[in-house]
């Protein structure tokens, strides 16, 4: 198979394969969730925390492989335990680089131990580390759908207080917001989102969906609702285009996704944003340019 100039025909060809259908469905759901969740992860400067979740999840998944339960269950268990632990440490715990790094290293070591104890063929481990979206089953798509709906409903329910506490923690606390509970709920949401995103990108490449699209979106829009929309669109396009190219080439989906979001980030960060803010600082993008003349 090779790419033809007729993209519609290409897409029809891709859609004929069940594994590609599943990959597109799971990838779409994951991209939406990662795009939304990632915005708050970036706003709260919790990128490193999110990464730590995925590595703690890796230890859980490796343990699951060893004991014969589904790797996703182990991932969810590991990342949620990590999330609860960090949330219970209290506010500003997400910024404790050193402690998180220490737990992260230990988790990877633990995962390695479980892998070496496992006598079988370790492809599952490889797919946890680097993603295996082309191996997603019908059942996994349904699981992803259920988790995605739960996450989006959860974020919708706490949207404004979460935004408030992310931007202005001290005032939100003085205004009576339950900071600890908000932190716990958010960390659990991130942990679940990370666990499902791992299916697409793998533990090691989780940033490409959870962080880079949202970080790029922040340079495009300064209104949170619009930045979230931009983040979702970037994650979606990266996933779809990645799946498309990986279908026709021998290269892995994760590579395409990481490459695409990185290239777009560089483009936006250094070209678009500079251009836009220069214009803004001259006042030409303000709502009424007429009264800013001179």
């Amino acid at each position: 198979m090779s790419i033809s100039p007729n993209i519609l025909a290409d897409l029809q060809q891709i859609w004929r394969y069940t594994f590609m259908q599943n990959a597109i469905e799971a990838g779409t759901l994951t991209a939406i969730v990662a795009g939304v969740t990632g915005y708050f992860v970036v706003l709260r400067r919790s990128a490193f925390t999110a990464h730590a979740f995925s590595e703690i999840g890796f230890a859980g998944a490796a343990w699951a492989v060893l004991t014969g339960i589904p790797p996703l269950a182990g991932l969810l268990l590991g990342s949620n335990l990590g999330g609860l632990g960090i949330a219970l440490l209290g506010r500003r715990a997400t910024n404790r680089d050193t402690q998180i790094g220490i737990v992260l290293a230990f988790s990877l070591g633990l995962g390695l131990l479980f892998i070496s104890l496992y006598s079988g063929y370790a492809t599952q481990t490889y797919s946890i580390l680097f993603g295996e979206i082309l191996g997603v089953s019908n059942g996994q798509v349904l699981e992803t759908l259920a988790a995605s709906v739960a996450i989006l409903v959860g974020i919708g329910a706490i949207y404004r207080p979460l935004l408030f506490s992310s931007l202005d923690e001290d005032v939100a606390e003085a205004k009576g917001m339950p900071m600890l509970s908000l932190g716990i709920v958010f960390m659990v949401i991130v942990a679940v989102a990370v666990s499902f995103a791992v299916q697409v990108t793998g533990v090691l490449l989780i940033f490409s969906l959870m962080v880079t699209p949202a970080a790029t979106a922040q340079y495009i829009a300064s209104k949170p609702s619009r930045a979230i929309a931009a983040s979702v669109i970037i994650a979606l396009l990266a996933t779809w285009i990645g799946l498309f190219f990986s279908f026709y080439t021998p290269y892995p989906v994760s590579f395409f996704i990481t490459g695409e979001v990185f290239a777009l980030y560089l483009l936006v960060r250094f070209l678009y944003a500079r251009f836009r803010w220069e214009r803004m600082s001259q006042g030409s993008l303000l709502r009424d340019p007429a009264d800013r003349s001179g």
């Binding site: 706003l43 400067r45 919708g156 329910a157 706490i158 949207y159 404004r160 207080p161 935004l163 408030f164 506490s165 931007l167 202005d168 001290d170 005032v171 939100a172 606390e173 003085a174 205004k175 009576g176 917001m177 922040q218 340079y219 300064s222 209104k223 949170p224 609702s225 930045a227 803010w277 803004m280 993008l285 303000l286 709502r287």
Partner: protein, 274 residues
């Protein structure tokens, strides 16, 4: 309009919003200050002074309900302080905001009212209008669509003021809003706060290090030092006798011909009480 009222207003307030009787506060069983009794009325502009670590922010935390008093009583609007009181606007002490925060100012100000409500509603027009008029009141209407991370210190303080004003509070607690501002911005911000106090009848408590820029606007001074608190008009508190009594060591208050004061003899106390 408020520029007409630049001299200290010493008229008796009609209603007392905040009353404290023999109040004491501290952390982990250690008292920071005690024996504080005061009454603050509607529309008063109060300066809170004292060395670093004297417990100025602690007073705010008690009033906000973030910290229980260790003794005595305190009442706001006739009730004990409680966290999340919508009648209080608060600007915490902040030195910087992350320059990577690419969120527009209007959004932060709007969260000052909508941030305490659950659910998802980013397009509420009443909230947006309230936020815009709060920005206007804080002299920051032109900052509405600027990014928080790109603002200067003075601009940021005006946005924080708008965020505090948006819920239409009766009491404003401002924790060192003047730090990191040059003299021009300091004067501008003080005029803004003074306008708000006079035009809305808001009671404002402002923590500061330097009393002189505040003197034209203040009704009251609360001076916290040496574990105690002296409250009164600037003329009553900023005197050699009252500060000597407060510190327990000889303190001189000098005045220049323009009314500026200098407090001599207390430098060694700075940072004494963490």
């Amino acid at each position: 309009m408020a520029s007409a009222i630049t001299a200290p207003v010493t008229a008796q307030p009609t209603t007392s919003l905040v009353t404290a009787d023999n109040l004491s506060a501290g952390y982990e069983g250690r008292t920071i200050w005690s024996g504080a009794s005061f009454t603050l009325g509607k529309g008063e502009f109060v300066a809170i002074l004292g060395p670093n670590g004297a417990g100025k922010t602690t007073l705010f935390r008690v009033l906000l309900g973030l910290q229980r008093p260790m003794g005595g009583t305190v009442r706001l609007f006739g009730a004990p302080p409680r966290r999340g009181n919508p009648h209080i606007g608060y600007i915490p002490q902040r030195h910087t905001i992350d320059t990577e925060t690419n969120v527009e100012c209007l959004e932060l100000v709007r969260l000052g009212i909508s941030g305490t409500r659950w659910g998802f509603n980013p397009f509420s027009h009443p909230d947006r209008d309230a936020a815009l008029s709060a920005l206007e009141a804080a002299g920051a209407a032109d900052l509405a669509h600027r990014r928080l991370g790109a603002l200067s210190g003075g601009e940021l303080q005006r946005v924080f003021l708008a965020e505090a004003l948006v819920s239409d509070p009766e009491v404003l607690l401002l924790d060192e809003p003047l730090s990191n501002l040059d003299i021009k911005r300091e004067t501008e911000l003080l005029h803004l706060v003074n306008n708000v106090v006079r035009s809305r009848g808001v009671t404002a408590l402002l923590i500061a290090h330097n009393i002189n820029p505040l003197l034209p606007h203040m009704n009251k001074v609360m001076y916290i030092a040496n574990g105690r608190m002296a409250t009164g008009t600037p003329q009553q508190v900023l005197k050699s006798e009252s500060l000597t009594r407060l510190y327990g060591v000889q303190v001189e208050v000098l005045k220049d011909p323009y009314g500026n004061v200098a407090i001599i003899g207390v430098e060694e106390h700075h940072g004494d009480i963490p």
